[in-house]
């Protein structure tokens, strides 16, 4: 029978075939291993059996299957995709209106949030209907509602309406309930994929693309506002959304990649989630508390990403993540007036921004490290003359 080491070899083969859709990859792994096992039971050695199985696979076969499979699944979620594209288009348009002081910017931004809400709702409802048999539907609903309340809170802030803080409080409660539920569910049913992580693996690539657009828009507005001396409000709202989007994406990646293998790491992911979501309540929590929470998040998430990614770029990751933590501590001490230095100085921030850009190239092929870095860069851009 094949040993764990043998399975590792087949897994590496699948990685080299360019399979990125996790559920399909896991299924093909089981298929290939079962085939190899059958041949080994007929007396072949692992090497011979594995070579026989490999020889029967036409070149680029798995990539084609993945493409066909994704097309099949995607047709069901077309509405969700249309609205997520609409959200990005309106977001950019609304930001441009706001920047050029044109009328209607606020309404466009609100409609863009509405489009995102419809996209999230239709995607998750389709997911719930199609995957009725999967565990954790309630945690999916809780997570989606949490994000919707978060959007509502920021809409209210844009419109200066009362109730923004209450919406944010409900959002944090729902997001924490969702994370707690997933954590307990994974602890109870180790290896059994929850609906939330299953659906996330289908959407992860599109979410990553949306995050990069949000980061670009946010950073562009910070730069333009700095040059023209405009207010930073639009850029800051965009970057806050980006940070929470990237944070949730990172948490779900972590739940998927490590939580099934290590009980200790599940708790660390849950602590990360608490440290990510609590600072949303900036109107209740003093800066010092938010600083400590963010620091714990950076440290824990960095450690978990480093552990889970097992990439050749691990040393670079530690170096850049360490640099970010030093920068963040420095910025926070300045903000708390412990340090007298001026970290808002362009002469300081331009070289730092260049250093912070390098990891995008280095980590471009590692989704975990890339997501962590999108979040870090978003936070760095937000810290620069933060208006909210």
């Amino acid at each position: 029978m094949s040993t764990k080491l043998d399975i590792g070899k087949i897994e590496i083969f699948l990685d080299h075939q360019g399979l990125s859709f996790k559920p399909l990859k896991a299924e093909l792994l089981d298929h290939l291993v079962s085939d190899v096992e059958r041949r080994m039971m007929q007396g072949e050695t692992f090497e011979i059996a594995w070579n026989q199985v490999k020889d029967e696979i036409p070149s680029n076969h798995f990539k084609t299957i993945q493409q066909q499979t994704m097309e099949t699944i995607d047709s069901r979620f077309r509405i969700s995709r249309i609205f997520s594209n609409l959200f990005l288009a309106l977001m950019i348009m609304g930001s441009l209106f706001k920047f050029f002081h044109l009328p209607g910017a606020g309404i466009i931004l609100l409609v863009s949030f509405g489009a995102l809400a419809i996209s999230l709702l239709s995607g998750s409802l389709s997911g719930l209907i199609v995957n009725r048999g999967k565990r954790g539907g309630v945690w999916l609903v809780s997570m989606v509602l949490g994000v919707l309340f978060l959007l509502t809170a920021y809409c209210f802030r844009i419109l200066h309406l009362p109730g923004a803080n209450l919406a944010a409080l409900v959002a944090v409660g729902l997001l924490l309930v969702s994370v707690l539920g997933i954590t307990l569910s994974i602890q109870k049913h180790a290896g059994d994929e929850s609906l939330l992580t299953f659906l996330h693996s289908k959407y992860a690539t599109s979410i990553q693309r949306a995050l990069i657009v949000l980061l670009s828009v946010g950073v562009l507005f910070k730069v333009l506002a700095t040059v023209k001396g405009n207010d930073f409000f639009v850029g800051d709202i965009t970057l806050i959304l980006l940070i929470y989007g990237a944070g949730i994406q990172l948490l779900l990646f972590l739940f998927q990649s490590i939580a099934n293998n290590s009980q200790r790491n599940i708790l660390l992911v849950a602590i990360c989630a608490v440290c990510l979501f609590l600072p949303i309540l900036n109107f209740y929590l003093p800066f010092t508390t938010r600083f400590v929470l963010a620091l714990i998040f950076y440290l824990l998430a960095g450690y978990l990403v480093y552990q889970a990614a097992s990439s050749a770029n691990g040393t670079f990751f530690l170096l850049f993540a360490g640099f970010n933590i030093v920068h963040f501590v420095g910025w926070s001490l300045m903000k708390m007036e412990v340090l007298g230095a001026d970290m808002q100085n362009l002469l300081y921030n331009i070289p730092v921004a260049i250093i912070f850009t390098i990891p995008f190239w280095i980590f471009r092929k590692n989704k975990l490290m890339l997501t962590y870095w999108i979040l870090i860069f978003g936070a760095f851009a937000l810290q620069f003359t933060q208006s909210i």
Partner: protein, 118 residues
């Protein structure tokens, strides 16, 4: 013998039929059952099997259930109520169609020519 076109047109029905007769099956098991029942004449490729399974799942005809087996995830497929109904319908349609085909493909008896009048 087995042409890819024939398999492509009937694979959905074959999978539904196998799952209707079994509580649950995983991908490799389905391909082995098909090979076994066809006397090794039909060997399902990964490319033929998995996109169809995902399509059936997205249409609400199958549900899945994952289990850890020997350190790897095994995904089992089973029919939903709608899947059971469609399996019956599709199998009966295909049986009818093969009967029709049989009739079409059976050699047509040639009418005897009467040469006596010549």
């Amino acid at each position: 013998m087995s042409s890819k076109e024939f398999i492509r047109g009937t694979l959905k029905t074959i999978i539904l039929k196998l799952l209707a007769e079994n509580k649950q099956l995983y991908g490799y098991e389905i391909s082995q059952r098909v090979a076994e029942l066809s006397g090794e004449e039909i060997q399902l490729t990964y490319g033929a099997l998995y996109p169809v399974l995902y399509k059936l799942e997205s249409e609400g005809l199958l549900v899945t259930n994952s289990e850890i087996v020997d350190n790897r995830v095994r995904k089992y497929y089973s029919l939903t109520k709608k899947g059971h109904e469609l399996a019956k319908e599709k199998v009966s349609e295909l049986q009818k169609f093969t009967e029709i085909l049989k009739n079409i493909l059976a050699p047509i008896p040639q009418p005897k020519m009467n040469l006596s009048g010549l």
